[in-house]
Assembly symmetry: C2
Homo-oligomer: 627 residues x 2
Amino acid sequence: MPSSAVHRHDVIVIGGGHAGVEAALAAARLGADTLLLSMSCDTVGVMSCNPAIGGVGKGQIVREIDALGGLMGRAIDATGIQFRMLNQSKGPAMHSPRAQADKQDYRRFVKFAVEDAAGVSVRQETVVGLVMSEEEGGRRNEVDGDATPSPSPLPHHRIAGVRVADGTVFHAPAVVLTTGTFMSAVMHTGEAQAKGGRAGEGTTSGLSGALRELGFELSRFKTGTPCRVHGGSVDWAACEPQPGDADPRPFSYLTHRIAQPQVDCYLTETTPAVHDLIRANLHRAPMYSGQIHGTGPRYCPSIEDKVVRFADKSSHQVFLEPEGRDTREVYCNGISTSLPRDVQEELVRGIRGLERARITRLGYAVEYDFAPPTQLKNTLETHRVRGLYFAGQINGTTGYEEAAGQGLLAGANAALAVAGKPPLAIGRDEGYLGVLIDDLVTKGADEPYRMFTSRAEHRLTLRQDNADRRLTPLAAAIGLVGPERTEQLARHEAEIARCEAFLEAHRIEGKTLAERLRRPEVTLESFAELPEWRAERFDPRAAEQAAIGAKYAGYIARQAVEVRKAQRWGAVRIPDGFDFAAVEHLRHEAREKLGSVRPADVGQAGRISGITPADLSVLVVALERAG
Amino acid sequence: MPSSAVHRHDVIVIGGGHAGVEAALAAARLGADTLLLSMSCDTVGVMSCNPAIGGVGKGQIVREIDALGGLMGRAIDATGIQFRMLNQSKGPAMHSPRAQADKQDYRRFVKFAVEDAAGVSVRQETVVGLVMSEEEGGRRNEVDGDATPSPSPLPHHRIAGVRVADGTVFHAPAVVLTTGTFMSAVMHTGEAQAKGGRAGEGTTSGLSGALRELGFELSRFKTGTPCRVHGGSVDWAACEPQPGDADPRPFSYLTHRIAQPQVDCYLTETTPAVHDLIRANLHRAPMYSGQIHGTGPRYCPSIEDKVVRFADKSSHQVFLEPEGRDTREVYCNGISTSLPRDVQEELVRGIRGLERARITRLGYAVEYDFAPPTQLKNTLETHRVRGLYFAGQINGTTGYEEAAGQGLLAGANAALAVAGKPPLAIGRDEGYLGVLIDDLVTKGADEPYRMFTSRAEHRLTLRQDNADRRLTPLAAAIGLVGPERTEQLARHEAEIARCEAFLEAHRIEGKTLAERLRRPEVTLESFAELPEWRAERFDPRAAEQAAIGAKYAGYIARQAVEVRKAQRWGAVRIPDGFDFAAVEHLRHEAREKLGSVRPADVGQAGRISGITPADLSVLVVALERAG
Ligand SMILES: Cc1cc2nc3c(=O)[nH]c(=O)nc-3n(C[C@H](O)[C@H](O)[C@H](O)COP(=O)(O)OP(=O)(O)OC[C@H]3O[C@@H](n4cnc5c(N)ncnc54)[C@H](O)[C@@H]3O)c2cc1C
Ligand SMILES: Cc1cc2nc3c(=O)[nH]c(=O)nc-3n(C[C@H](O)[C@H](O)[C@H](O)COP(=O)(O)OP(=O)(O)OC[C@H]3O[C@@H](n4cnc5c(N)ncnc54)[C@H](O)[C@@H]3O)c2cc1C
């Protein structure tokens, strides 16, 4: 072998998707010398599917990513072409920001940000294997997909680096794997199949074998994408315009305003005739013909799924979303499909406004390997290999935001571990990210996991408007965000306090403004004409916080009680490597489940499905005895 | 099979590179309903290698493409970040425009232009086979790479369409194949190999088999690309800045001025130590180890080629060219290489300014199938299959400009043929494009062919400054350019005539200005202070034409005589399908060569290497007898 320079870094991130990008940036923000390896430099930051960020549950995650210093919020603020705050008619816990992106602008912004970040090196490389450290119990020091799989699992390995296509090894004590839909990926359009994780790109098969050999369980999921049509062939007048908000609100707490011009989306819908066509061709849909084995996302279903599952609905919405400002391609949101070409073409032409639409890219489904996430700690480190982290779609999730959030936490934890510092954990009561991670590592994923507000038991406090207040202090404490964010938050908190004081001090007809706000029909706007209120010129974002606090004070107090209750169990830690099998009096099923999930604390143990309060009592006694 | 709608178009273009884009646009300008099929919509217009358009010989081609209504000139004008007119110290025949592009902007501009063009439909599809018409002598009507190759060639086929990956057939009476470096492509970096025509993309193997089965000869060429480094890791102060021209001049005759801000490039060089390193590792270079069989471009050699071929040179220039405005990646022009990673890394660090450079993408070579171009008519239609055209790198050329020029002519000729109109042919005396096509179809390509001014025998008239005057009238005559260009040219010609008249009429010390201009030291600037000259306010571009005409009148007149002489032979047409084997008294070698090239006229016959004037006389007699 050549006398090549040895490549050493603190953290290696594999993959330049949404998870990989946030992972690399977070690790670097914490001071780790970070290497990002991706199959192509040109696809760093690519949006594989729809040109949008945010949405219900997801918009909250973007705000949390931003509060932790991540990139996603700033990227969409800089490149969004239509911003909407969803659910504005509902309470503030349901308000969810969403924006369409100019897809190419988004990718360029992200790629540039990663290139430009101090502490991150990007290299165009395809990873084919993982390298284990020889120090610790490693029978072999290199594992790749070509090697014969060993029958017995290899527990307690430690990662030492990765091997790329030409055999070169890049060394690091921590590796974050974020390969998205690319592991052993197969694309389907009707009967036609092709290898690849995204149209026009490749797949990576070596890694699946390497993970299996290390004893990881892999399973198959599928996801899909709709066709794109040429904007010039759409009858826009036949569709209903969907303008963005008149006052587009940014995702990032650092963005002051959205300056770029906005565009409209359009709404149309499928018809009974379209549904008949789909039903008549179901035997040719890879999902139904048996050609695809992986489970698809229930909450982002293909049009064929929708027609089957909601057989009584006579139409489904189709949003026509421009993919950017300098392209004519339009994304047909709502008709994700892997039906064969002829059906796709007839289907599209059956939709109002698309009668003469010209398809530029067909829809397709992609089936890929994921690693069931109960194999992870809540730091996203694998139980099986020390220093190896998984983040993003590889963990069985779907969605850019879920991927990015996991990436940020995995990257941060990788860097913290390398530096010998305690991990960053976000509780279920602190953020949707906490809910996401806890759900994944505790319950696994029977189907592609996406976030919903209903997954959060404390969602009244987990609002998009207060992610900075909830999470930026955590991030600041470990150096994950810089002074710009902490100073901004300090100013914000001071202004909130000033406004709260005013609301408590000021009375109308004997009642304080805070008290008045508790009445459903009273809002901040009710005070707009009060000269005293106007004189204070409160920052509107701070005033909103104060008002929400006043309005929901009762609920929030009750939630706090519940949170404290839940935290009690959470405080009882279970040591790493604790032997659940050795716990006397524990039911066999509980032993198995606990042994497989390996919860970090009794709180998490209690959330494992099938674990009873009685099991917990037995466990707590055993833990007390052991520790 | 499903009852799919039948897809019918006039012209199908396979490939969205520089050749494919110009082919599709030209066909559509001529009124053909044109379909562009490309492996990925996102790579339409990608610059595979260096971020620059133009250069010596190539800049002239871009001007000619523009004069014919093509896109390339406008694309680089809109997205160029550093413009230079090369060879300004030499005569006007040598002036050659060149510009650096923002690579991503260039790609987006081109993709949008193609999407937006009336008459062009773009679809993301991978073509796997060619479909022959059954009407005419076709033993089989479908040919693809999976079929068993038939031993005997199938002459006089007629194309009927193409088959894409899922089996669907798109029908058209004319097909232009522009697959670039993608046919049976293998990439090499040192000992490591991977399939694919460009890093991160796939290859198309089916088409090679399909062409072979039709009796086409295929051969292997290779090309290479240098590594890219991160701009933040370059010591710019150690390099020599290379600013662009203060007054950047546009490529397109339609562009008034270059408005966007310009950037600098930088110059550095290799050292004897770097050359020693390369020599010590030559056995590991795929070009020298025997791993690559294809011939590489002599005039765009890899650094290992340069070190071997110019063994006495102690350094080679390396231009550091930013790949765009919002990326930190820098293209290292001059060190294209497929040496293994460790050598590339050491090599880069041996260059002044790059001592601490961080490589973002390694250099690599790609080896691919091309079709020796003597199998083509001068319309770029294949002799073997009617309606099938080849253009671009598939014809054994290298370079974006050469590809684009061929694409334009192939697309135009495909559309003209479908409309039953006579083809567009450009003579060697009319344009570099004429030289290019004639060289290819007459002499073939023993090594990747690129344009040089020295290839043109009439280069005094084939200047970058007069491509519109030479070619726009040809294009206008067949409807390839619209009124915008013809009107602009008419105004230009009128202004030139006005200026010429002035130069003839005006005297200083008894001599007309035109006569004065013949003296080497006299230029237009010499008249700058003349009040009469200033009063006329001649358009500078028109004045330049008049002055060049006056200055080189003698040479140009002599060249015209030669052109007329050459045209005499060119006027003697050889009918399609003429049987050279049956010509009595023709030498055996001449019969073979003529039979393989199948020249369109006696002029072309005379340019075939090994054909003597005596052969031509025999041929002319035979033609007179036959016709
Ligand atoms: C066709 C399709 C349809 C989808 N539809 C939806 C949808 O409807 N709704 C939804 O919410 N989500 C959808 N998604 C999912 C969404 O794209 C992902 O959730 C998100 O992109 C995941 O981000 P990630 O970072 O985990 O992976 P990705 O964005 O997939 O990024 C993976 C990265 O890893 C790189 N990589 C892979 N293997 C290697 C290797 N061996 N070496 C080096 N680099 C490697 C890739 O080049 C890429 O940069 C879809 C995805 C696809 C492909
Ligand atoms: C690594 C590398 C290095 C190079 N170095 C140099 C250099 O140093 N100097 C130089 O002058 N030139 C260089 N070139 C060549 C230059 O890129 C080409 O000359 C130019 O791009 C050719 O244009 P083209 O249109 O013929 O092909 P390309 O630009 O290669 O485009 C081919 C197109 O065809 C599509 N395609 C291929 N197969 C199919 C199919 N079956 N179905 C549908 N679509 C298909 C591809 O997706 C692509 O869009 C290099 C190229 C490469 C790849």
